[in-house]
Point group: C2
Chain length 296, copies 2
Amino acid sequence: MIDADWDLYRSFLAVLRAGSLSSAARQTASTQPTIGRHVDALERRLGAPLFTRSRAGLTPTPAAIALQPHAEAMEAAAAALERAAVGARDAESGVVRITASEIMGAEVLPPMLADVSLAHPRIAIELVLDNRLADLMRRDADIAVRMTRPTQGAILARRIGAVQIGLYAHRRYIARAGAPRTLAEASRHAAIGYDRDQFAVRRLGEEGVALDRDFFRLRSDSDCAQLALLRAGAGIGSCQRPLARRAPDLVPVLPNDISFTLDVWLAMHEDLKASRTVRIVYDALAKGLADYIREG
Amino acid sequence: MIDADWDLYRSFLAVLRAGSLSSAARQTASTQPTIGRHVDALERRLGAPLFTRSRAGLTPTPAAIALQPHAEAMEAAAAALERAAVGARDAESGVVRITASEIMGAEVLPPMLADVSLAHPRIAIELVLDNRLADLMRRDADIAVRMTRPTQGAILARRIGAVQIGLYAHRRYIARAGAPRTLAEASRHAAIGYDRDQFAVRRLGEEGVALDRDFFRLRSDSDCAQLALLRAGAGIGSCQRPLARRAPDLVPVLPNDISFTLDVWLAMHEDLKASRTVRIVYDALAKGLADYIREG
DNA sequence: CGTCGATCATACAAAAATGTATAGCTGGAC
DNA sequence: GTCCAGCTATACATTTTTGTATGATCGACG
């Protein structure tokens, strides 16, 4: 009988995904020797080699690749169990984990979350800022604030509305460099935009704004850094309209020429519907985001 | 984030099934304090009570019951992973676990397994004797020898044939008590049969042998004990015909009146088809059992 | 009404797993 | 060619987990 500890499968899965013991250890809040021992133990119990060791990392054997779907099934079941457990407890307490884009998480959500936290002192909130989409199915987070429609299966998603995006600049910048009156003029200005983030550039392209990397004179893949540059008067950049209106010194640039909207979606797993705790935060965000959009 | 050790879920499932910490500990080769601590830890992590403790055992809360299917999904995935791992290793070595009925396991299989073991010294064999059906899906065993057609899903089953069952008695018994010539006469003899095993009695009923408990003067729910009684000349009992023919001192009783057959099935999980090790044992048993049946 | 058997909870010793630190190897950049 | 970053493997101290032994409580049963 094999009957290995289920924890070993979890380490196994982490190594499969990370590609090395060290990397897997970093992602699982463990250490490299521990993960290594787990893999050793699992290989011993299963009686089959799972990885070929090298100095560069661990390469999975065909056997390990064949085992991966099963380990992922275990992971999915564990996540479902956790969601069910969270949904089952009815107390207005516990931890709610939210994932959002950088701008949303750093600029828009904090006031709303502050309100929730004050009104419900027993609810703890974790905020994960990541422009990549976190996986609600795997329970990377309980609630997601996204700018695209969630496509995964058992996800409860609500479209809050569309936030307007426009070009802005600080008064100081305008005073020094003047305000462009046409698109052609704008190209001679200090534009703030993305560095290497292909995803963001492509998304802009879909919105009808075809720009290549060289168009930007100030480049950063961090949305927060872009916003900070904008506020510091470094140049012209895009900004969510309600956010810009809160800053009295930001003025619109070419509002009639460049303007588009991004949908705002709020999502949670269906299994968490029953959780009062998650629901409280979800509803607060729904209302807060709706108000925010209306500001624009 | 909850992110509990997966081992906790396993203990949780064991307690759910066993109904008490002590019982769960026995079934998992662990101890009662350990299982208890696991349950405590899981309740703390999930933030919800899972059991109401009492001196008689642990009663699951509704929350725990809701969580059970997920834990079972994890278990199923773990079992599938193990089967895949066993199937993937191609060496003719490892452990093969066989489940069989008492008679089959104690009287019929051992010579075959001895041959396999000699021919393949690196294959270890575990033999589980249990008249209840072990669960191949859960990987309670790799191979099952059964007397009924397996009904579970992804099971590879082969009908080896039908073994004849008849009544027998030892020469010594016949010499002392005489041989019955009719069924009516037989009812005055010392009959060997089942004690409280309803399943066995009902199965006899289905075969057209309607007998109640009082018919038997020598009762045991252990098939091995019944056979030993028969061999010791204690009375008249049923026996597989090939088995009886091996014992020179057992003579048939009323062979024309009472005789029926039991199918013999050999089963393994489909996932294990690829395993050379399991396949070797499976094929050896298939051949050995076919020869055995032909002896009758 | 007491006894027996089975249960959970707790204290303490033993065993096992983990983390820290370090050595050694490898591949790519300059 | 050398350096650097990143990786695995190993030794050792520490922490954590586990097991043993025991006490206390409850219910079945005679």
